[in-house]
Symmetry: C2
Subunit: 123 residues, 2 copies
Amino acid sequence: MPAAATRAPRSGCPIATSLELVGDRWTLVILRDLICGKRRYGEFLSSPERITTNILADRLAAMEAHGLIEKTAYQAHPPRYDYRLTAKGRGLVPVLQALCRWADRFLPECWTPPESFMALGAD
Amino acid sequence: MPAAATRAPRSGCPIATSLELVGDRWTLVILRDLICGKRRYGEFLSSPERITTNILADRLAAMEAHGLIEKTAYQAHPPRYDYRLTAKGRGLVPVLQALCRWADRFLPECWTPPESFMALGAD
DNA sequence: CTTGTGACTTGCACTCTGCAAGTTACTTGG
DNA sequence: CCAAGTAACTTGCAGAGTGCAAGTCACAAG
């Protein structure tokens, strides 16, 4: 059972409710990797933020439960999976881009994200 | 000492670094209230999400430490404070708007935010 | 038949969150 | 003058989330 369970929303506010799904320190980082083309468990682990294996497994399960990603087996023996964004997950691209624009302006120690990332559409 | 201390960033990624400041379940909710004109402790407490007093005090201190808000005494005896957005805090308006647009499309149980909120500029 | 790899799971310590209650410094009503 | 009220917190404690290390399972390669 994932630690990051789905809770009842605290209110009908779109901000408060969205944060129940993505308001933690890892979900949007995994989403960024997915947007950048990563699909497999080991690829997420290799990102510079060094997510740990238990949290990654937990977050992937929660994101799947929330309909942000789909998990499919790309081979049966031994079982191997890949993870892909759903339309709902891809719909968060503008949120990530807005965060990047903010960081670019107010957190000068950050990288500037690649043009290709900032030019993505949400569909 | 606030529980939500400032950690060393996990990487230079603008998304990962931003999430160290706003990647929790309350900071952006408080920010929403500030954008909507709330300024005082008791006003934040009265929001429908029912933040508790210890978390509110902790988050306000962290947001001040991160430069998202400024705390000023509006009267000395007894001491009473109000909290206002800095330019850095107000710069997150597009992030909240992007979250609202996403929720409007993919979380149908949510309210539609007021026009006035969606029309705000970030400056 | 030993080693390696991908995808996890388990255990433990520590931090964060939620709830209830208490505190401080006044202001107001009787 | 005294009791009650209010704003802005603080404290204590239980439970959920996070970080780190190690272990598991099913194969594949040498």
